[in-house]
Subunit: 712 residues, 2 copies
Amino acid sequence: MLEGSAFNSSADCRKGAVHSKGFVLAAILALSPHARADEGMWTFDAFPSDKVGGKYGFAPTAEWLDRVRLSSARMAEGCSASLVSPHGLVMFNHHCAQDCIEQLSVPARDLLAHGFWASRPADERKCPAMEIDQLTELSDVTDRVNHALEGSAGAAYEDARRRIYAQIENECAGADEAVRCEVVSLYHGGRYGLYRFRRYPDVRLVFAPELAIASFGGDPDNFMFPRYDLDVTFVRVYENGRPAHTPHYFRWSTGGGKEGELTFVPGNPGSTSRDWTVSQLEYERDVFLPERLLWLAELRGQLTEFQRRGTHERLVSSSLLLEVENSLKARRGGLEALVDRDFFAGRVGAEEALRAQVADHPELAQAVGDAWESIAAALERKRAIHRRLDYVGYGKAFASDLFRAAQHLVRAAEERTKENGARLEEYSDARLPELRAHLLSGAPVHKDLEILTLTYSLTKMREALGPDDPFVRKVLGKRSPRELATALVDGTRLTTDRAGLALRRSLWEQGKKAIDASTDPMITLARRIDSDARALRRHNEDDISPAIKKGTERIARARFALQETNAYPDATFTPRLSYGAIEGYRENGKAVEPFTTIGGAFERATARDPFRLPPSWKRAERRLDRRTPLNFCTTNDIVGGNSGSPVINRDGEIVGLIFDGNIQSLGGDYGFDASVNRAVAVDSRAILEALERIYDARRLVAELGEARAAVP
Amino acid sequence: MLEGSAFNSSADCRKGAVHSKGFVLAAILALSPHARADEGMWTFDAFPSDKVGGKYGFAPTAEWLDRVRLSSARMAEGCSASLVSPHGLVMFNHHCAQDCIEQLSVPARDLLAHGFWASRPADERKCPAMEIDQLTELSDVTDRVNHALEGSAGAAYEDARRRIYAQIENECAGADEAVRCEVVSLYHGGRYGLYRFRRYPDVRLVFAPELAIASFGGDPDNFMFPRYDLDVTFVRVYENGRPAHTPHYFRWSTGGGKEGELTFVPGNPGSTSRDWTVSQLEYERDVFLPERLLWLAELRGQLTEFQRRGTHERLVSSSLLLEVENSLKARRGGLEALVDRDFFAGRVGAEEALRAQVADHPELAQAVGDAWESIAAALERKRAIHRRLDYVGYGKAFASDLFRAAQHLVRAAEERTKENGARLEEYSDARLPELRAHLLSGAPVHKDLEILTLTYSLTKMREALGPDDPFVRKVLGKRSPRELATALVDGTRLTTDRAGLALRRSLWEQGKKAIDASTDPMITLARRIDSDARALRRHNEDDISPAIKKGTERIARARFALQETNAYPDATFTPRLSYGAIEGYRENGKAVEPFTTIGGAFERATARDPFRLPPSWKRAERRLDRRTPLNFCTTNDIVGGNSGSPVINRDGEIVGLIFDGNIQSLGGDYGFDASVNRAVAVDSRAILEALERIYDARRLVAELGEARAAVP
């Protein structure tokens, strides 16, 4: 399944590496004659309607685009979603809701195994830590940001950027906790957008199928096509304890899509790197990806064996294991793309071509200066310290929800004593409400799993920095990683039960003095390591990151001057719209058809996980129309973060639900090959068929029917 | 600790890629002004005595070299060793003996935890599956091999090579099961050597310390220096049920070594790649190492959690976990070297320089032809099928000792119907005795661990090839990997208890007809997949591997024509001798002293694994001389396979025991940097001190004393 942008954050340290769209096209064109076709993750205010109209005979109007944007949503944690009724009903993927489903499960009622259906409104159950956001407004703040950044470089540049972002976001959100505002750099600072979201922090689970059918085929089938998954979940957003009124929503297509039909996918692709320099791609290939993959692989091994210990262990770690496996497979696909000699040679060639073009224009050459060299030099500096940066600076050593809660409390107390613009970004006034809600959410924490992950990360820290490293000694002392992890997790009172939440609330409210006086072991640890962590982070943010940002900005401007500007910016986990068509492809000389059917799932089933159909499906087998399309694939350009996006037709009706890409699409972070990259979706007809004939979810079917009938 | 060559075999598919010494020097010289100093893994018949004499004032004579060679030994499974008394006493590393120590352990007497000491001769315990080999003769068979290979290419070349090897080895070993003969290609077929070994298959454990001190610091300290390990074990080789008479052995130095002193290390370095082409290094960096590392990392994760289940689980999996962790760290170090931009650029530059030189000599250019291109093209073909080659062709899908036994039985039955030269190499007459001994050794097999590893490898096979792959379907059918693994392991009767060994023996003796009639599930599986596996292996051995061999051979000859031939061949797990000196180095601007002491171990100790000293050490603390040197480092050029090598002085006396290299030495597979690469050894004085004052091993001390006193 697609990887949400949430998994790309902090420890990855990738935020610093901004990038834009453009000269990858040359490289991609060399790979495939179909390239350019349907490629692109377009912003709503620069959608290429004419181009779509020319190819497909339908050109979205501004009104159509507004309607689609307002009916789309996202999960704050990193998935896309859609509103599908006027009563706050939201559809997205089961794999995006799995944290919530796991949190609401108890051994006696395992909702992952058995699914969930609220047959009465009162049965809808609050997800402890889920937030749905809807983009209500977007505006251009390019001039204002550029003015603030003018003439600065290095640490001063980074300070100025942080200040102006915080200022704009603060003005936008004000004191309204129901609003989230984000300044986003597009085209490497070629443009800056201000995105204003309506926050829905009260989200309740309405329907979820069994994990066995939501991710039928499990990890073996993940990123594969043909595919047979019902990876759907419905939740409802509430306001003041009642279903929210959501006038903008997608109607439901019962007819569904057909081969060759034009499709649109609104969503929030997380992050792409299609215009990175060769030195950035080398860093990714040589340093970032091997480090990340090895971390994930070993953790996967531990979780696999942990799961075998018993029902409790399986229950509390399924969601994490799924995330790890998914990430592992996705990153592995990324590495495959980067070690492909032709692919990489194409990228090298494209960079050489651009540099030659720049050299031909003296004024451009002067403006670009040593941008490529300075990016490469910054990355060399980063190579030398990347492990320390990750483990110490960005907290990779402490893979524990309880530690993160402690760290947030410690840092928020410190940061809130500063003026808004001078804080660490994530503690700006505009971000505090969400952070506080997250801390006080009460999402359960499982101590044995916490000990496992914290032991793991402490062990990895010792491996990465060496047992004699002063920071390692400061953290571990004479204790083993497991001993320390156990003492911290068992000793902290910052739990998520009633008493723990009360303590968190009181520490949040009392601020720095209470934090300084606390003897809680997690708080104590977070306090003790804070100056080490901040110093490293600052080093990155003052030295390495601005050099890369400035460099890419200069290259991007030169590219703009040389090439058409009719291009989309690299993905940034903000709302985008892609277009394409339902279309198969060829693989190893054989045609892959674009649709699978419910009957196909029964044929593929064995009696063993992960190819075991749930009992509900087997009971309903005779009632089902086996020809009903179950999954399909399209040429839409999507990446991680698009999970949960609706697939809509030209009438803006839902015909499917994105949940994956095929294996070929995994190089999509670095380049799009339209001949074989495919988005994979659940068919709207299968969702209705299953709700009606397997789950007997009449209330939900009626609500979708209402959505079908209504004219928005 | 150093990785034995055994871990580099089969699944790695590296055998095909031969290579030689030469132009790496240019690259290495660019890295360090000290390079060339002390570099080299020399064959005994081409040792640069003059050079050593010039630098250190001591030039080994032919007689000295013979004596050293005859006193050295190796473990057939992949470690080096030395004879240290006239009564068959052999010294090597604890980590090389760990399989045996684990096999002799039972929960009530865990020899890993508590160590082992046979205070009476009758207490010496037979290692179920260990063989010690001693090199008795080496001769040159270059002309004979070249004659047989003349004019052939592709599959014919490979066939001719296999035939002439089998023929020579067979003539050499004859029907004498106590002899092992190996033809070895040196300098890429610039020379072929015939090595004749005396086999000692009856090996008995004499002394082993506790794991806690043998690998004090565990994985965190592995490949680190300063270091504090007593990684030593003594075994004795027996003949006809009595200690073997071994007239050649190393005397013991009680004085020990001192800083700056000349040291020699005889041993069997496993395999190096210092003269690979850039395309070979790219394959290693992009394909082989990521694949291998990810396999090891996930397996490590599973084993770590498996160990936590209980004493039995810890006991049966410690040796495998150690091997996995060691290999993981070593390979990781290799990858670090290859992704170092300067290092790789150096290799690229060296290749370009050599190609330019070749181009300047028309006759050389013609002889080399398209060697670089044809190697690169063969590796491109390999990239396309490498997973299938590994999993199907070389059996990576079936990580189970029981399966391997079944496969050997199936294949030996088939191969023995063919004439010697036409067989798969490992079933040639010269190799059969060892194979049979291995099959009938009775080394215990632990079903739960077998199920874990087989489940793992089957799962990885499905991941690598996809669930719809015909081979995957053929193997799994509708069963899950765990289900199939459990059925196979629980169902097979090819165990290593009395009944299982009897069955193995009878199948071995009755041959093909009995095998064809067997309904044992492992035999059945091995039979069913054999044609798939052979077809792939043949494809590799007929198409890919000869292209690489021929190409490297042509390049090597050109290099010989251009450069001095006074160079050592890349390592091949055959006896070599390196020279150097006891010397520290600088790291991060700080001096690292060459010696550590017993006192240092006490200072480093915590009360937690892996920094927990065993009770025997704590009890003896007051009796010990804390200033006794414990470990030291030297400039000797060693790699995996050298584990267990003695460190000797100019008098041929033992001053230490190699057990590791420092972290900087891990790039040694691809190039040697004499300024920081260090071999790490246990000091002979610490061994004596511990035997006397901690373990009270008087009989052993007396025997070493006798070795000390005797004049060989």
